[in-house]
Amino acid sequence: MNPVPLDKLVPPHVRGFEAYIPSKPDEVLKKLYGCSRLFRLNNNENALGPPPAARSVIDRFPSSRASVYPSGDAYPLRCKLADKFGLDPDQILVGNGANEVITFAIKAFCREGDNIITADKTFAVYEWVAEFSGYQARLVPLADFGFDDEGMLERIDERTKILFICNPNNPTGGFWDEKKIRGFLERIGGRQIVIIDEAYAEFMEAKDYPDGISLIGTYPNVVVFRTFSKMYGLAGLRIGYLVGDLEVVNIIRRTCVVYSVNVLAQEAARAALDDGEHVLRTREMIRQGKDFLIRELNLLGLSYIHGGGNFMMIHLPMSDSLAYRKLMTRGIMVRTMTGFRFPNYIRVTVSKMEAMEAFIEALEGILREGNT
């Protein structure tokens, strides 16, 4: 059999793209790094897990239903979300995690030669999806750890189709308030799609944090992303959604892969929405964890960045990737930030106190050892 002529078959934008390699399963990592327990503080998961109502759905899920296709477009969940936000169910599209709805939106609006605009130091999936789809990702440096509105506006040209704003920004936690976001949308004037990624919206307690969904009526070019992976603790089931103006969503629907969200994820997400207590409990855990971290980091003399969301960035006096390896040997998994273009920073998920105490103890240990 002749070798596959990949040089001829693979388009240049795919050939030049580096695949993202996710971390290995916990058991493999524990063996590699020789640790007996592992606190996962790398993916901003909710340590409280799913709300009790969602847990109950998962626990009681009858295996016989695994042979039956789910609702192809998550109709019951969309109805429930529509009730919650006062929308038409057709203004909502559900995907296999927010990553999938990012792909739907980019595919719907971009063609060869088009570009998207986002920040250089933000959630990388907007940039990745654009680039491996053959579209240019224009990356604007952050200003004071937040998205730079002026910089983004300056980069717009006639081939710009989408501007992505991560609000609050992952990994810095910085966010735009309502005044800033409205000012930005006014200057866009509806000429491009503005996607507001609100993956961490449910964690936000700041009074001036804007609700992107409420802006859609005034600005029909706004599309909002949300996820059940963070606050609602359903990351393992992969489910997220987008909300937009009816006409805009009808366009995005054309690129949407139906039946991609499994039945368990749909039903657990529907149940999760009923549990307001879970949000309050999680916020309390985050407050307690952040207070503890801030106090301890100050004692260690380390600088940090935090804002919205269940995470903090910490600046280390050593290579973040070396810190990662050393922390792993102590059973702590964090996210290195060099890949986000923040060298020597780590991002740590704010979690339960047991994990936070273990993290600080491990951090103290590796700082004592230094770079050797």
């Binding site: 290579s319 070396l322 390896r325 890949g339 273009r341 770079n371 050797t372």
Partner: protein, 438 residues
């Protein structure tokens, strides 16, 4: 900017009748791609010898593909072929001409070919034949001197990609301000540095004051598919050297973040290297002409979260590797390789990369063979006779057959010194020749 993507391609039967076709293509391509007359002729001679040899050992029904690629500061000529009996032995620098038999005369051509170029690479493509690459570099005039003004005066600067004149000055200032350090040889030739950057193979960032005075700079290039090597950062006349050196390293890091790069390696660290960004890997020593030993610490910075890796090792070095990997906190699955008497190639092949100005040579294994131990000894003997003061051996721990050299290296007086993580198919292990072995 010039880019290294100009190619001349020829597919030609392995028939002596086509020798002049092959050589005229290589000669004209080499000249068109920028080599001087003398270097172009050397490359042509080398190509002629390779082609003639292939005609002898191959069949006239076979073809060879010859590809000349311009790299701005060098020209590379690749031969791709499927000849089974290609004997690479002549590519050992120790190979000598033999006139006593026909085979000896045939290899004479390969010997000439290997000596007429600056570097060569041999790649056996599983089931798809072989690629032999001949690399000839342009010759550049030395850069001369620039006096070092050591008064710190620049307090503000901005970073930018340098143009040719800035690179020329940068090279001169590196030599002037960092004269006490071990520097890469290319800084002797500013024109070469300009072409290296123009080719796209190297990238640079420099700092300019508001008055456009050069405050410092850094240079980097890809060492393989997953590793970037940087040179510097070099800092001149600034009031806050640590801030500038950190900014230069971060400029390099922000360029290579989100690329396939796994690690950044610094073998030629300047005194301004911001240590907090790096991990020390180990130390090599360079012996100067006066007999003084200069220690060179190699540094590393991983760019991704280490996913773990399997490495191969001969049992005699297992303890060393276990300790080193524990010290470096690198998760590795160390797998043993032993010789069980399996049939080997008759002849081993080692490539020799020289840095003449530092009296330095690095050996790399191209093929393991039944004569590996004798071949290694012959190389050491030759370097000793030629007065080469600094001899290194670079081994890819991701390639099992390479570790077969380990017991012979230890016996010949080499010591394992530095692990370069992810620098090859696996980690690279650098050995240094310390003393005459048994």
């Amino acid at each position: 900017m010039l880019k290294q993507d100009k190619k001349v391609l020829l597919s030609v039967p392995l028939d002596n009748a086509f020798v002049s076709v092959a050589t005229s293509v290589v000669e004209n391509a080499a000249a068109a791609l920028g080599l001087g007359r003398s270097e172009a002729l050397s490359l042509t001679l080398s190509a002629e010898e390779i082609f003639t040899y292939l005609c002898r050992v191959g069949g006239a029904d076979q073809t060879v593909t010859i590809c000349c690629t311009g790299g701005v500061y060098y020209v590379q000529t690749d031969f791709e072929f499927s000849v089974k009996d290609f004997d690479m032995r002549a590519f050992n620098i120790t190979a000598k001409a033999r006139f006593d038999d026909e085979a000896g005369l045939q290899e004479m051509g390969l010997l000439i070919a290997s000596r007429s170029v600056d570097r060569f690479q041999i790649l056996e493509k599983k089931g798809q034949g072989m690629r032999l690459s001949l690399i000839k570099e342009k010759v550049y005039p030395p850069g001369g001197e620039e006096s070092a003004d050591t008064r710190a005066s620049i307090s503000r600067w901005t970073l930018k990609r340098p143009h040719a004149e800035e690179l020329k000055l940068f090279s001169l200032l590196v030599k002037a301000h960092h004269s006490g350090e071990i520097l890469p040889e290319f800084f002797e030739y500013p024109g070469k540095v300009i072409d290296m950057v123009a080719s796209g193979a190297y990238q640079a960032s420099v700092a300019l004051s508001p008055e456009e005075a050069l405050a410092g700079g850094i240079l980097w290039h890809w060492m393989g598919e997953r590793t970037v090597e940087c040179f510097g950062p070099y800092v001149f006349n600034v009031t806050d050297a640590p801030s500038l050196s950190e900014a230069l390293i971060e400029a390099c890091l922000s360029t290579i973040a989100k690329t396939p790069a796994v690690g950044l390696i610094v073998r030629f660290a300047s005194r301004h290297l911001p240590r907090a960004h790096f991990e020390p890997l180990g130390t090599l020593s360079l012996t100067t002409k006066a007999g003084r030993k200069i220690r060179m610490t190699a540094y590393f910075r991983q760019l991704l979260e280490d996913p773990g890796l399997s490495v191969w090792v001969h049992p005699v070095l297992k303890d060393f590797l276990e300790k080193e990997y524990a010290r470096l906190v690198l998760p590795r699955n160390i797998r043993g390789v032993t010789d069980k008497g399996e049939t080997r190639h008759r002849h081993s092949v080692l490539s020799s990369a020289f840095v003449r100005s530092q009296s330095q040579v690095t050996l790399r294994p191209l093929r393991y063979g039944a004569d590996s131990q004798a071949n290694l000894k012959a190389h050491i003997r030759l370097f000793h006779e030629e007065g080469i003061r600094n001899v290194f051996f670079s081994m890819d721990l991701g390639i099992p057959w390479q570790v077969g050299f380990i017991p012979f290296l230890l016996e010949a007086g080499f010591s394992p010194r530095v692990i370069l993580p992810h620098a090859g198919r696996g980690d690279m292990l650098l050995f240094q020749w310390e003393k005459q072995g048994k």
